[in-house]
C-alpha cells in the first residue's frame, strides 16, 4: 500500500468501522459532546460527537470554544481573499455546476491582458490574496497559461496566489509552485465514490481516485498550502464530513511542512436536471465548521460568498478565519468589459467588502488583506 495515498488509506478502512463511526455521529448524546469539549483538540470520537445532532443543543458552548481556539491560534484577525475567474470553459459536465459542458452559457477564457485588467482592479481595491478559478478545458487552461497568470499576479503585488482548477500531476504542480502558486484548492465534491460517478458523467474529472490524491500531489510538489473540501449537500453529510476530516489528518501526517485549509461550500441552487442529495441545514454547516476548528486548531477555515450574510456574520471568528467578500463568479466580471460570461454559482452574500469588514469588526476582529509574502517560496526551494 502506498501510505501517502489518501485514496488507499480511506479505502482500507474496514466497512464496519466506517459504518460504526457514522452511527456514532448520528446517535451521539449530549454526554458525548460534553466529553469532547473537555478534550480539545478532539480526536475522531470528539469530532463525531461535535457534528452530531446532539451538538445543536450545546452550540453556545461549542461556539465559545471554537472562538477561543481561533483567537488563540490566529489572533483577532480574519483574512480576506477574492476569487478571480479566469475561464468558464469546461469539458466536464458535473450535474451540480453551472459551468457544465451541457449548459448553454456564454463562455470565455481571459487573455493575460484581460486577467491583468481584472487583477489590477482587485489590487486597487486592496486585495492581496487571490484565488484563480477556472473550469477544465485543456485547449484553453493549460499549465503554461496558469503559470503565466500566477507570475502576473505576483508581479501585480498579490502576496498569496491560490488556484482552484482541474487537478495536475506532481511535476505540473511543481511548475505552478515555481511560477508563484502558493495554494492549491481541490474539492472532492463528495467522497462517496458511487455518488461521485453519478454526478460526474464525463470528462477527466470523472476519475475519482486521481482527484482524491490531488492535494497530496500538490503538497509533494512543494505547494505551501493545500485546500480541501466537500460540496455539502451532494452526498451524505456525515460520511462526507468524516471523510474530509480524515483527509485533513492524512495530509497533516504525510506532509508536515504543508499548511491545510478547509472550505465549506454548500450547494444552494443547482442547474436544471440535478437530482438532489441530502439537505445540509445552517445548523449542520455550523456544527461542521466548529467541529473542524476543534479538531484542527491550525487549519485555515474558509467561508465564501455562497452563504447568506446573516449566517456568515454569525460564523466570522467562530472557527472561520478566512473569507471572501465582493466576489463575482464569472470571467471578466470585475471590470465588466463587454457582457459578463456565465457564473459558476450565484453569489448570495453580495455586500461590498466594506460592509463585510464592518461585520467582522463587530466581532472584535480585524480584517487582514495580507498574510503572506512573495519571498515565501515552495517547500524545499531556495531563492
Amino acid at each position: 500500500m502506498n501510505a501517502a495515498s489518501f485514496y488507499e488509506a480511506w479505502n482500507s478502512l474496514p466497512g464496519e468501522t466506517l459504518a460504526g463511526a457514522l452511527e456514532r455521529a448520528r446517535n451521539a448524546t449530549a454526554g458525548d459532546v460534553n466529553a469532547a469539549l473537555e478534550r480539545v483538540p478532539v480526536d475522531s470520537d470528539g469530532f463525531l460527537a461535535l457534528i452530531s445532532p446532539a451538538a445543536d443543543g450545546m452550540m453556545e458552548r461549542i461556539e465559545r470554544a471554537a472562538r477561543e481556539l481561533t483567537i488563540q491560534r490566529f489572533g483577532r484577525t480574519v483574512n480576506l481573499y477574492i476569487p478571480l475567474y479566469l475561464s468558464n470553459q469546461c469539458v466536464n459536465d458535473c450535474a451540480y455546476c453551472w459551468f457544465g459542458s451541457s449548459r448553454a452559457i456564454e463562455r470565455r477564457t481571459l487573455t493575460l491582458d484581460e486577467a491583468e485588467t481584472e487583477a489590477v482592479r482587485l489590487r486597487v481595491e486592496g486585495y492581496r490574496s487571490v484565488l484563480l478559478v477556472a473550469g477544465e478545458d485543456p485547449r484553453h487552461v493549460t499549465v503554461d497559461y496558469l503559470a503565466g497568470c500566477a507570475r502576473l499576479m505576483k508581479r501585480l503585488g498579490f502576496a498569496f496566489v491560490g488556484i482552484e482548477t482541474q487537478t495536475f500531476a506532481v511535476e505540473d504542480y511543481a511548475r505552478l509552485a515555481a511560477a508563484g502558486v502558493d495554494g492549491v484548492t481541490v474539492y472532492q465534491e463528495t467522497y462517496d465514490a458511487r455518488r461521485y460517478r453519478q454526478l460526474h458523467p464525463k470528462g477527466p474529472k470523472r476519475d475519482y481516485v486521481w482527484r482524491m490524491d490531488a492535494a497530496n500531489r500538490a503538497a509533494r510538489a512543494g505547494v505551501r498550502s493545500v485546500g480541501v473540501g466537500a460540496l455539502l449537500g451532494l452526498g451524505d453529510y456525515y460520511h462526507d464530513a468524516l471523510a474530509l476530516a480524515t483527509h485533513v489528518k492524512h495530509l497533516y501526517r504525510h506532509h508536515w511542512q504543508t499548511a491545510v485549509a478547509i472550505s465549506f461550500p454548500r450547494l444552494h441552487a443547482a442547474p436544471e436536471g440535478y437530482a438532489g442529495g441530502g439537505e445540509v441545514t445552517d445548523a449542520m454547516l455550523s456544527r461542521l465548521i466548529m467541529a473542524m476548528r476543534l479538531t484542527f486548531p491550525d487549519a485555515m477555515l474558509t467561508l465564501s460568498t455562497r452563504e447568506a450574510a446573516p449566517l456568515r456574520d454569525r460564523l466570522f471568528g467562530a472557527g472561520v478565519n478566512q473569507v471572501s467578500a465582493g466576489s463575482k463568479t464569472s470571467p471578466g466580471a470585475y471590470t465588466g468589459r463587454g457582457a459578463a460570461a456565465g457564473e459558476q454559482f450565484p453569489v448570495v452574500d453580495d455586500r461590498p467588502p466594506a460592509r463585510v469588514i464592518e461585520s467582522i469588526r463587530g466581532h472584535g476582529l480585524e480584517w487582514v488583506f495580507k498574510d503572506w509574502d512573495a519571498s515565501l517560496l515552495p517547500v524545499g526551494k531556495e531563492g
Binding site: 488509506a9 478502512l13 474496514p14 460504526g20 456514532r24 478534550r39 480526536d43 489528518k249
Partner: protein, 263 residues
Amino acid sequence: MKNNGSKSSDPLVIAGRSFASRLMIGTGKFRAPAEMTASVEASGAEIVTVALRRVDLDNPDDHIMSYLDASKYLILPNTSGARDALEALRLARLARAAGVSDWVKLEVTPDPRYLLPDPVETLKAAELLIKEGFTVLPYMPADPVLAKRLAEAGCATVMPLGSPIGSAQGIRTKESIAIIIEQATVPVVVDAGLGAPSHAAEAMEMGADAVLVNTAVAAAADPAAMAAAFAKGVEAGREAFRAGLRRALNTAEASSPVSGLPW
C-alpha cells in the same frame, strides 16, 4: 481494527518485520553474561541491542553475542561511542562485514557526560547508512522536526530520548514526544532515561510503539526480576492505550479512539 484483543494481533512492525514484544533491551552494564541472558529472557524482548565497540568481532567465541541465541532475538548492533557520522558509518560497516546485521541502532553522542545525541551528525549518518542499504533506528533528541527529517530520510523508527541515558529520570520530554507520536509515520520507540516500569507504562500509554531499556535493568539488585517488571509495565501501558485511555490533558496527545478510526 485496534481494540481486538491479544498481543499477537497487535504486533510491532518495523521495516516489515513483526515483533510480539514492545520492549527492547540493551545488553551493556550487566555484571555477568549469565545475568544478562537471564534478564533478556525474563524481559520477553525480541530486539536486543549490542554495543559494537564492546564486541570483539575477530573472536566470535568470546564476545557478548555468543551468549545470545540469534534465532530467537534480533541482535541490533548500536554505534555507541561514535562521535560523528563517519565513526558511526565505520562501526555499522564493520558489523555488516562480520555478518552481525544490516540493521543498526544509530547512536552519535559526542558529549561524554550526558551522552546526548548529536542531531546534525545523526541525520547525516542516517542518510549515509540508508544509502548503503542499512535499516536504521536512530537514537535522537526528542525534537519533532528532527523526527520528521529522520523519517523522511528513510529511517525505520525514531527513538527519542525520555531523559539522558542512565539518568532514570523518566520522561522529561513528554510534550515533545507527544508531538512526535502524533505526527509519526514510523514506529516511535522511547529510548533512554526510563528508570522504572511506570516510566515505560507512561510512554506506552502516550501511544509510543515501544520502549528500550538498559541501565534500569542492568543496575537493579535483581536484573531478571526487574526485566520482568518492565515487561509488565510495557504491556499494561499498551493495553491501556488500546483500551481508549482518557486524560484531562490539553496537549497534543495521541489516543486510541473508541470509533476505531485511525485518528
